[in-house]
Subunit: 221 residues, 2 copies
């Protein structure tokens, strides 16, 4: 069943569900009762037909002239994204990025709760961030026993990432968000998403180099 | 011409070029002279046919039984990604994430140089990170005059992002990497990439909720 659903919902739609979630959350907090696909499209810089197609995946359809019921649609989107429950998260690697994530609203609200911070640097062990103490990586199994984290965030240097990811999988973590510039080799059942922030910069320079009429593909094509 | 090239290279290929760049860089630093599409595929968790198709976009073709010349291919990939020059980057918003990025190898090597750090918090103005002083946002125009930054990174709270992005565009920045959880409305000529780290978590929970047989789309489909 999971496979069937996965095949049905393309990843770009999943990414947009996340955008709709934020827009709907804003509309709900302003007391708005209904929202049209045109309004959702405008707020998300998308086109309305795409919005309607995306939302039809959730079995929700707007009414002509009225649009969508905000509360109902928000509940549907939250459920689709798994945000109708709380996901315990552990962060391994409490350097600058780990700290930034541990304090970011996106990681501490709306379905996520940081339950563990792990590192190996004696200088920072015992310090707390948002009420969570930084513990030694060797205590990962204890943290897992206490909190059953389902998501592990890897913010270590590249050289440590594979070992850390394997350790996370060993204690039962089945989804990993990897910020280390390393390709992780893990069992197929583990969901891995690698976010390489320098890739984001390189995508920008790829396009900007083209716009500037720079070297590169221009010559090759 | 730029449009034509953009149409030719799908974004997923651009993202993979960035992966090849890292793998090739590693191979070059180990003194390897050639690399096969199978080796590239293995190192990047991709399939070899896709690797060959991607690289054919660069006009580079491996030789049967030998593979690709590492130095030649790396140079081609670097040029395609615009990494054959140095891109000056300004970061606006020097909180935890801004600091993490300012210190990250991906932002300070390999084609990028942080030339400006801007914030409005008097408590941090004047401090330096990796040799760059944090200046007040009101000095953005001066920073732009001195360094002509082409890329602006927005790591402010959501409420400040639109204003900051407009200020960046006004001083000549034409590519923006936005980490604020806000949709930016900017002229079409400006390249904008929004990275919302909580979206990455939500994509994981979307799939994990499905795998766990949870509520949501299962019911809707």
């Amino acid at each position: 069943m999971a496979e069937r659903v996965r095949a049905h919902i393309p990843e770009p739609t999943v990414l947009r569900l996340s955008i709709y979630q934020r827009i709907l959350h804003g509309a709900a907090s302003r007391g708005e009762r209904t929202i049209s696909s045109a309004q959702l499209a405008e707020a998300g810089s998308l086109n309305a037909a795409k919005v309607r197609r995306d939302l039809s995946h959730l079995g929700t359809f707007g009414m002509p002239g009225t649009g969508y019921d905000v509360a109902f649609l928000l509940e549907r989107v939250d459920r689709a994204l798994g945000l109708d429950r709380v996901w315990p998260v552990v962060i391994v690697g409490v350097g600058h990025l780990g700290r930034a994530l541990a304090r970011s609203p996106g990681f501490t609200t709306g379905g996520f709760r940081v339950v563990g911070l792990l590192d190996t640097d004696p200088a920072i062990l015992g310090a707390t961030i948002e009420g969570v103490a930084i513990r030694h990586l060797s205590e990962l199994r204890d943290v897992a026993r206490e909190h059953s984290p389902s998501i592990g965030v890897v913010t270590t240097p590249a050289g440590a990432a594979q070992h850390v990811a394997e350790s996370l999988v060993e204690v039962g973590v089945c989804s990993i968000l990897n910020f280390a510039p390393a390709v992780l080799n893990l069992p197929d059942r583990v969901l891995v998403r690698t976010v390489d922030l320098s890739v984001e910069l390189q995508v920008l320079t790829f396009y900007q180099a083209r716009l500037a009429g720079g070297a590169g593909l221009d010559n090759a094509l």
